[in-house]
């Protein structure tokens, strides 16, 4: 397995300021730190860390990785870690990234579970948990809003992209339709429209 990732070359041309993890240790530490900041879910933090702070991905690459992570079976953030680690250091990198994501939080969760029984009746504890839950929800919504501007550059066009995103949010969040059907129907529509637009673009440039 080659240690040199095979795409940062092309990436560097488009976005000169992007970096890559220099070692598996750096990868492990980054994913551990990322996971430890992720109260109520790691997604919002991973955008902030991988895209904004470390600059290991740009917004489009992040969405691309996240899209694939969401439609594949398994926890999204684990899938994202696997593919990111694999792209840079092969299967060892995948193990290192997922290991960093899970190891320290697992110890904390087990410790909390052992403690919880003693403090669950304290109203301040319940209140603090609820407050943290509210922030977790705001973090995810804020991350979504932050990614919205990428739709302007989507080859499908702004309006079709916005329509698909909004339909998905309403179907899942408001109507509570089953995820599988929403993803299948809207995903297939998006795929078909994107195929149509991209092949039109390609025949123009040819």
């Amino acid at each position: 397995m080659s240690v040199i990732p095979d795409d940062p070359g092309t990436v560097a041309l488009a976005e000169p300021e992007l970096h890559a993890p220099r070692s598996k240790t750096e990868l492990f530490v980054a994913f551990t730190w990322l996971a430890l900041q992720g109260f109520g879910g790691v997604l919002a933090v991973s955008q902030r860390e991988l895209v904004e702070r470390l600059r290991w991905l740009n917004k489009e690459q992040f969405i691309e990785l996240l899209s694939l992570s969401q439609v594949l079976p398994g926890p999204n953030i684990v899938n994202l870690s696997l593919m990111f680690g694999d792209r840079h250091f092969g299967w060892r990198g995948a193990l290192v990234a997922v290991g960093g994501m899970l190891a320290a939080p697992l110890v904390i969760v087990l410790a909390l579970a052992a403690l919880y029984a003693q403090f669950s009746a304290v109203p301040q504890v319940a209140g603090a948990l609820r407050g943290m839950g509210a922030v977790a929800s705001g973090l995810i919504l804020g991350t979504a809003f932050k990614l919205v501007p990428t739709l302007k550059r989507n080859p499908m066009g702004v309006w079709p992209s916005a329509a698909i995103g909004l339909a998905c949010a309403l179907a899942l969040g408001w109507l509570r339709w089953p995820l599988v059907w929403v993803v299948l129907v809207l995903g297939a529509s998006g795929f078909a429209w994107a195929w149509h637009r991209l092949s039109a673009q390609r025949s123009l440039t040819r």
């Binding site: 969401q70 407050g131 995810i140 919504l141 499908m156 899942l172 998006g190």
Partner: protein
């Protein structure tokens, strides 16, 4: 922490395998994250086998969501509650291995053929869906807070925080914990 905390809780090896096998099956079905299959886990562990009680089940999810790290760790707590450390290994291996193998395979295939029209149409077509999924998740998480105006205020405050500042989300988590604790129940 007595012997029972670390023990098998009366489950045999065959049942451990069964546990791992069932979670492996769920791993393949868990599109959109493991939390989507939580209702099936509840049915299997609580209703069908009685390995953990309903309260333990809810607490496991609440603790994993409150703690730092991926929410998938509630599966580790479920396994531990059902059959101690080995139960945890069984449920985590079950939920992780099949989906991880598929992800690595598809990820490599996609990367190798990243210039193909189908692969690009996939990325472009699914990008808005991904944003929609995030919006829906945030919305669903905010819903149970409707009865608590103070908590509800934290949601827009956090959105402004993440959009307008460069600080770590940890700051806002701390604010949320403090507001929640002081506001009481």
């Amino acid at each position: 922490m007595n012997a029972e905390f670390f023990g098998l809780h009366g489950l045999g090896w065959l049942q451990l395998l069964q546990l791992a096998g069932h979670f492996a099956l769920l791993s393949l079905l868990a599109v959109g994250g493991a939390i989507t299959s939580a209702s099936e886990m509840q049915r299997y562990l609580v209703v069908e086998h009685g390995w953990i009680d309903p309260l333990q089940f809810n607490t496991s999810i609440a603790i994993a969501q409150a703690a730092p790290g991926p929410n998938i760790l509630f599966v580790a707590l479920l396994g531990w509650s059902a059959a101690g450390p080995l139960g945890m290994v069984a449920t985590m291996a079950g939920i992780m291995l099949p989906s991880s193998a598929i992800t690595l395979l598809v990820g490599r295939l996609r990367h190798a053929r990243r210039d193909a029209l189908a692969v690009q149409a996939f990325s472009v077509g699914l990008a808005p869906l991904t944003i929609g999924l995030l919006l829906a998740t945030g919305w669903v998480l905010a819903l149970p807070l409707a009865a608590h105006p103070l908590s509800m205020l934290l949601v827009p405050a956090t959105i402004v925080f993440i959009l307008k500042t460069e600080r770590s989300p940890l700051w806002m988590i701390a604010v949320g914990a403090a507001v929640g604790a002081l506001g009481g129940a």
